[in-house]
Amino acid sequence: MKYDILIAGVGGQGVVLASRLLALAAMKAGFHVSTAETIGMSQREGSVSSHIRIGDKISGSLIPVGQADLLLGLEPAETVRNLPFLREGGKVIVNTHTIPPASRPPGSPEYDLSALLSFLNAHCPGILCSDFTELAEEEGTYRAANVAMLGAAAGAGVLPFSEETLKAVLNAEIPEKYRAVNKASFEHAMKCIRLISDA
């Protein structure tokens, strides 16, 4: 068994936390796991990604091009940027909430959300899109969008471990102060994705 997950986003969105939660859940489910994270300078509002490799064998932590089974995109442009890692037929869940870059250096293309979304729709059959930032904001804070997306992945039934396993990890790892809002965002996203998937 091997299952590779890539989480893409912008520094500050909680990509590292999301990948650690998935890694812990995978370990709890009895798999080997290996992650690669973006820590340091590039974290400051830059493009960040986490690779999570789950399976029976121990591998290097970077997912090869075309091998990710699941791409969780916390931001549309960053999702598109990481699409080459996705395997043919791999699953994509994307947060449609944009984070335009803080500055536009000379030569940087315009941020064109509708073009990016139609590209994603054209190339990723079965893609699931929602504004998870807004959804988390409704539950109390936009910062819980990362955990909301984990709820979405659980709701879509695309994780190699049970929803309960992931919830147990959330309970154990998220400090009590933030637990309720994260749990609510997780549940809300899970229900929301089930509705979309069934439709």
């Binding site: 300078m41 509002e45 075309g66 996705l86």
Partner: protein, 632 residues
């Protein structure tokens, strides 16, 4: 995480003293030790630089204690002076250096290779591939250091140090460390002197031979497979190679090297005798390649070597499975083999992607550095108008290196920790008509910034130093430093005042500008109004900057503020659309991540991540940016 595994390995090995200076990707090792320090009885400190950290651990090891020093690869350059001498002297307890390399690089100035440094310094180097191996090799490093009385380097890379994974440990909760330190015993062996060095040099060379012998018998150097094409690899590259040849294992024999220096020649020879050709898979320097080329020459073996030196593998940058597949396929084609290792087929090829906005790292929303950079930009503009003088800005290493980014463009030079003011001094000698400003952070000031201040005073350099004091080591994750008044273990210590330090160095122009209290204290202005006081804060920074730049001789301004990464915002701002003219000045000039002007809108707005510095409100000429909420 790999760094946590190293910490647990060190505790299990009985480490008693741990010192280090933060540096990505090494930082979390010492941070993990801090978590267990009191419980396990381990003295742990953030030293003010890597040289001091190493020397402190050396003192502990001379006394028979087991010590660990942590740093990133460029930190080893700072610590290299004591290290080069220490190899002759040796140690008594044990001394292990964790040195984390950063192929890419992701967060570093260089792509240097610590394996080669170990070779240069005659210090053994272990090179793990996974967090599990990092844990095991840490324990081995302590054993070797104790047995051979020599410091040992545990070298990791970003993908080992910053990889999380399952690690099997002996004890989940580390036990208290057994105190086994006999204390310092006076002996001439601890005092380096030309005669002692001459005596010790043959010992040092002999240890290298003994270690190479010992390493050849260790299981962390392993051979797998029986194909006629050999692959030699160390660190995480070995895993990439293993994955790259999956399905074609019968063609290859893989030799994984865990103890890279001294090179395990015996083990390598028996591997080389069974193969026809050799592929070398390694990031950074062609270190293993040089070792095997030498060995093949020495043993007159008929083995062709394919690596970086003959162009089959990239000479720089971080590797991954795809790069290794391409390299091996190049070799297979050269050999006339029919086999070709396949790449996976992606859903979308990189070439098919639509144009994507560039997203470079940038200063956080509300970062005090942005205010200071912007103030100096204005001051330099005004001085240029008044006196035609250009200003050259020298940067340093830390978050504020990001002042180089568009649109601030406020870093004209940046070289290494503490170099800003000395470089500015050299620029002054050759460009005396220009103004010279250097920026340095608080932690970097204590690390290696002080000697340049002394030199500027001593030799009379007309340079302005702006200390960006946000009261933390921000870039590496907010470690304390000598200016904070707290140690790594959380106990109170004397907070060293930067302004006092530069004054005592003889700087005559010293100002402190407290940005935070200017931002938040209505009493700073006659009308007792928070918004008016804010308007003053940028102005006060600009005035101080101009005054310092006009001063003849070295001048220092200490800008005090908060790091938004560890403080809660006290207020946030909003743009009132009815007053906003849509000029976009705030967005274009400041590059603040909280400000955005989407293509489809004609007026900018402020996002949730505003942390209330108020800089945008101060630059808006139509007064459209107002405090939205106080006391968040």
């Amino acid at each position: 995480m790999g760094n946590e595994a190293i910490a647990l390995g060190a505790i299990e090995a009985g480490v008693q003293v741990v010192t280090g200076y933060p540096g990505t990707p090494s930082t979390e090792a010492l941070e993990t030790i801090i978590r267990y320090a009191n419980r396990c009885g381990i003295y742990t400190e953030w030293s003010n630089n890597e040289k001091v950290a190493l020397e402190t651990s050396v003192g502990a090891a001379y006394s028979g204690a087991k010590a660990l020093v942590t740093m990133k690869q460029v930190g080893l350059n700072v610590a290299s002076d004591p290290l080069m001498s220490l190899s002759y002297i040796g140690v008594k307890g044990a001394l292990v250096l964790l040195v984390a390399d950063d192929p890419g690089p992701h967060s570093s100035q260089t792509e240097q290779d610590t394996r080669a440094f170990g070779h240069f310094a005659n210090i053994p180097v272990l090179d793990p591939a996974t967090p599990q191996e990092a844990y095991e090799l840490t324990k081995l490093a302590f054993e070797l250091s104790h047995e051979f009385e020599i410091p040992v380097i545990l070298r990791t890379t970003t993908r080992v140090s910053h990889s999380c994974g399952d690690v099997e440990v002996t004890a989940l909760e580390p036990a208290a460390v057994e105190v086994s330190c006999e204390g310092f015993v006076k002996d001439r062996r601890w005092t380096i002197f030309p005669r002692l060095t001459a005596e010790r040099h043959p010992w040092l060379e002999n240890v290298q031979v003994q270690l190479s012998e010992c390493f050849s018998g260790l299981s962390c150097n392993s051979v797998s497979g029986s194909g006629k094409i050999g692959i030699i690899a160390s660190g995480v590259s070995a895993l990439y190679a293993k994955e790259a040849v999956r399905g074609f294992e019968e063609l290859f024999t893989l030799f994984r090297v865990g103890t890279v220096y001294p090179f395990p020649e015996k083990a390598a020879l028996s591997f080389l005798k069974e193969i026809d050709r050799l592929i070398v898979v390694e990031e950074l320097d062609p270190y293993l390649e040089e070792q095997v080329l030498q060995l093949i020459g020495k043993a007159h073996l008929p083995v062709d070597v394919y690596g970086k030196k003959n162009g089959f593998f990239p000479v720089s940058g971080e590797y991954n499975v795809d790069i290794v597949i391409d390299g091996i396929n190049g070799v297979l084609a050269d050999l006339g083999e029919n086999s070709c290792l396949p790449h996976a087929s992606p859903a979308v090829l990189r070439e098919e992607l639509p144009p994507l906005p560039i997203r470079a790292p940038t200063l956080c929303a509300g970062c005090m550095h942005r205010t200071v950079f912007y103030a100096f930009k204005q001051a330099a503009k005004q001085l240029k108008k008044d006196s035609q003088a250009d200003t050259i800005f020298s940067g340093d290493i830390g978050c504020y290196t990001l002042g180089n980014a568009h649109p601030l463009n406020m870093v004209d030079t940046c070289l290494c920790m503490g170099a800003g003011m000395s470089i500015a001094g050299g620029l002054f000698r050759t460009n005396p008509e220009a103004k010279h400003v250097a920026f340095i952070g608080d932690s970097t000031f204590f690390h290696s910034g002080i000697p340049a201040v002394i030199n500027a005073v001593y030799n009379g350099a007309d340079v302005t130093l702006a200390v960006l004091d946000n009261r933390t080591t921000a870039m590496t994750g907010h470690q304390p430093h000598p200016g904070i008044g707290v140690t790594a273990l959380g106990s109170a210590s004397k907070a060293i005042d930067i302004a006092d330090v530069v004054r005592s160095c003889g700087v005559e122009f010293v100002r402190t500008v407290d940005i935070e209290s200017l931002e938040n204290n209505p009493e700073n202005n006659p009308e007792n109004n928070l918004e008016n006081s804010l308007e003053n804060s940028l102005e006060k920074c600009v005035e101080a900057a101009k005054e310092a730049m006009k001063f003849e001789g070295p001048s220092v301004i200490v800008f005090k503020g908060k790091c938004v990464g560890i403080t809660k915002p006290s207020k946030c701002y909003t743009i009132e659309p009815e007053n906003c003219t849509g000029c976009g000045f705030c967005v274009i000039q400041l590059g603040c991540p909280a400000l955005t002007l989407p293509a489809e809108e004609d007026k900018p707005f402020i996002q949730d991540n505003c942390s209330g510095c108020g800089l945008c409100a101060q630059v808006c000429s139509s007064g459209a940016i107002r405090i939205q909420e106080v006391g968040l």
